[in-house]
């Protein structure tokens, strides 16, 4: 093995392994934390993009915060207004009511949706098990009759207080039914027909949809409106709009926005809104990554510096043979790059293991390891290796041959 940098690495096995391991941890943190933060948000965005719609209508003023808003916001009558004003370009409107409920050990976005709109909301996904809630819309009709027509003179809250758990879960209309996605079912060990308690009510899981649908929890829209919207079943959180074929998204969004006075954005913008809203998280994650990498490369620098100090005689031997400064610099740099390369490979492997571990322990989290992240890690590692090698290389170049060869 005439390749001195590799020979040195193989000769000092433990030190090399520790140095590579230090780099590996830094790379693993970089890839895994980025993969976790971006992967989890990306997975949410992917699910929203699976909705068969072109536009999202949400209240004016929510701005970039719309991605995490929930509760009562838009009067359902806007749907009729949009239909009547833009029937030529609007094929379908899907109002939904969103709220956070706790299931599977963490908060979940629960989406109230009309059963006849569920297919559009989930991008046409078929249930893996069970059935859809309120399949014949009996519950929807019942609750509308009960709340909107029973006492026209009374205020909605007054009427709302009259509905109990028993009313909602009565088998005649079965309003407290949930469809959950397969990841939540696996993570919470939920099974079809199981009763779960959340949001102060008991719910029955009646269906399981393959993961990838817009949310992990679905329920009848009127149930969500009633329970989480102060009993007002006339308002939703936002509306998805499906345009007819050939309609331009941009102009349609502007026209519908003018009609409703609300914000209308293309569905494709949701990902950007989500990333902007939670972008600060990336700053924290990246800051931690930078610190970890700096520590890792300081480790490499110390290793190389120690190597140079320990091997001044060998460096002097090379110089006595006429080794140029460039040759010496290349040796130190190559050793740094080899250590970093090994560390990067180890870090990439550790990242795969860490991603598996995270998703095993917390199945609802998504760690996305993309080739781009790995390329970024390699580039960062290579740059770090070069920077870490500079000072030790400079010291190697400065070795005094005569002094080093004379010292016993």
């Amino acid at each position: 093995m005439a390749y001195l940098p590799l020979a040195n690495i193989l000769h000092y096995k433990l030190r090399s392994a520790l140095s590579a391991f230090g780099i590996g941890i830094g790379i693993c943190m970089l890839v895994t934390l980025s993969g976790l933060s971006r992967g989890t948000l990306g997975e949410i965005a992917d699910r929203w993009e699976a909705v068969d719609a072109d536009l999202i209508v949400f209240p004016r003023g929510w701005g970039e915060n719309a991605s995490d808003k929930s509760g009562s916001a838009l009067p359902d009558r806007w749907a009729d207004k949009i239909r009547s004003a833009h029937g030529d370009i609007v094929e379908r409107i899907t109002p939904i009511f969103t709220w956070q409920i706790r299931l599977g050990g963490q908060d979940q976005l629960a989406v109230g949706v009309d059963s006849d709109q569920w297919q559009h909301l989930t991008g046409g996904r078929q249930l893996r098990e069970g059935r859809l809630f309120d399949p014949d819309k009996h519950f929807a009709q019942w609750i509308r009759t009960r709340l909107l027509t029973a006492s026209p003179d009374s205020d909605a809250n007054e009427v709302a207080e009259g509905l109990s758990q028993q009313d909602l879960s009565d088998p005649q209309h079965a309003g407290l039914e949930l469809v959950i996605d397969s990841r939540l079912a696996a993570a919470g060990h939920y099974t079809l027909g199981q009763t779960v308690t959340t949001a102060n009510h008991e719910w029955k899981i009646v269906g399981i949809v393959p993961a990838g649908a817009m949310a992990r929890v679905f329920m009848p829209r009127q149930t969500a409106q009633y329970l989480f919207g102060n009993g007002d079943i006339t308002k939703s959180t936002l509306m998805f709009v499906k345009l007819r074929g050939g309609a331009d998204v941009g102009p349609a969004a502007r026209d519908i926005g003018k009609t409703t006075g609300q914000d209308v954005v293309p569905l494709g913008r949701y990902r950007g809104m989500l990333m902007e809203k939670f972008g600060i998280m990336f700053v924290y994650v990246d800051a931690v990554n930078v610190i970890a990498l700096v520590i890792a490369f300081l480790f490499i620098m110390i290793t190389l510096y120690t190597m140079v100090l320990q091997r001044t005689r060998e460096i002097a031997i090379l110089k006595s043979a006429g080794a140029s400064n460039f040759f010496l610099l290349r040796q130190v740099l190559a050793e740094s790059l080899l250590l970093t390369g090994a560390g990067t490979a180890a870090g990439a492997a550790m990242s795969v293991g860490a991603a598996w571990l995270i998703q095993t322990l917390r199945p609802l989290l998504t760690v996305t390891l993309t080739p781009r992240m790995l390329v970024t890690a390699v580039v960062v590692a290579a740059a770090g290796a070069i920077v870490a090698a500079l000072y030790p290389a400079w010291r190697a170049v400065r070795v005094d041959i005569a002094e080093a060869l004379t010292l016993e």
Partner: protein, 224 residues
């Protein structure tokens, strides 16, 4: 003796270390000429400046004053030029052998050739040098697994692999037992006789010096 016959000419070499009261004047106007194909032994007591002389002649350290001609040309004053000349024309053997511990014998020679931009060339010469030096059997051994005699002979292979015009040896037998010392001197003698290798050898040993064509003695930084 004409200048063209001299592979090395030094005139008025001065070298000191340290500053102020701690300044040590090691070489004091030393003059030396070495003929091409000559085997020269430099003797002298400890501290007389022998090793410093060798370092100056081998361009490992700069001189404070004086002129130095190698192969008929002034020794370069810039570091890059000195590196080039060392790579091309000089081979060095040290008392402590100075093999690179993480490389085996063959790779110690190869790295030396790689430094000189000669890796992959003259493989047959390297093989024959290993044979001639009687160290072919240790080619794959690292220095720690060789005897001291073997290490020194591998160091000689390394010093000669690039066919240097000048071989500088600093107390090459200093760490060797008498058998190994004699074997090394036989090698030097044969190299000088058969291949016309120019050798400048620093030594304490009168026996070693006796192998040389000419012996010069140093005292207080000058030739006595």
């Amino acid at each position: 003796m004409s200048d063209s016959e001299n592979i090395l000419m030094a005139a008025g070499l001065d070298k000191s270390y340290g500053n102020g009261p701690a300044r040590v004047h090691v070489l004091r106007g030393l003059d030396l000429a070495v003929r091409r194909g000559e085997f020269l032994a430099v003797m002298g007591p400890s501290g007389c400046g022998k090793t410093t002389l060798l370092h100056v002649l081998g361009l490992l350290t700069s001189r404070d004053a004086g002129t130095l001609m190698l192969e008929g040309r002034p020794a370069p004053s810039d570091a890059a030029g000195r590196d080039r000349l060392r790579r091309r024309s000089i081979g060095m053997v040290f008392q402590r052998f100075n093999l690179i511990s993480v490389l085996n014998a063959a790779d110690n020679v190869v790295i030396s050739l790689r430094v000189r931009g000669l890796a992959g060339q003259d493989g047959r010469r390297v093989e024959s040098l290993f044979e001639e030096m009687g160290v072919a059997h240790v080619r794959k051994r690292k220095p720690a697994a060789m005897s001291i005699g073997e290490q020194q002979r591998v160091a000689v292979v390394r010093a000669l692999a690039h066919r240097p015009a000048l071989l500088l040896a600093d107390e090459p037998t200093g760490n060797l037992d008498s058998d190994n010392a004699q074997r090394l001197l036989d090698v030097f003698r044969a190299l000088n006789r058969d291949e016309g290798q120019t050798i400048v050898m620093i030594t304490h040993s009168a026996e070693a010096a006796a192998c040389a064509d000419r012996i010069v003695r140093m005292k207080d930084g000058q030739l006595a």
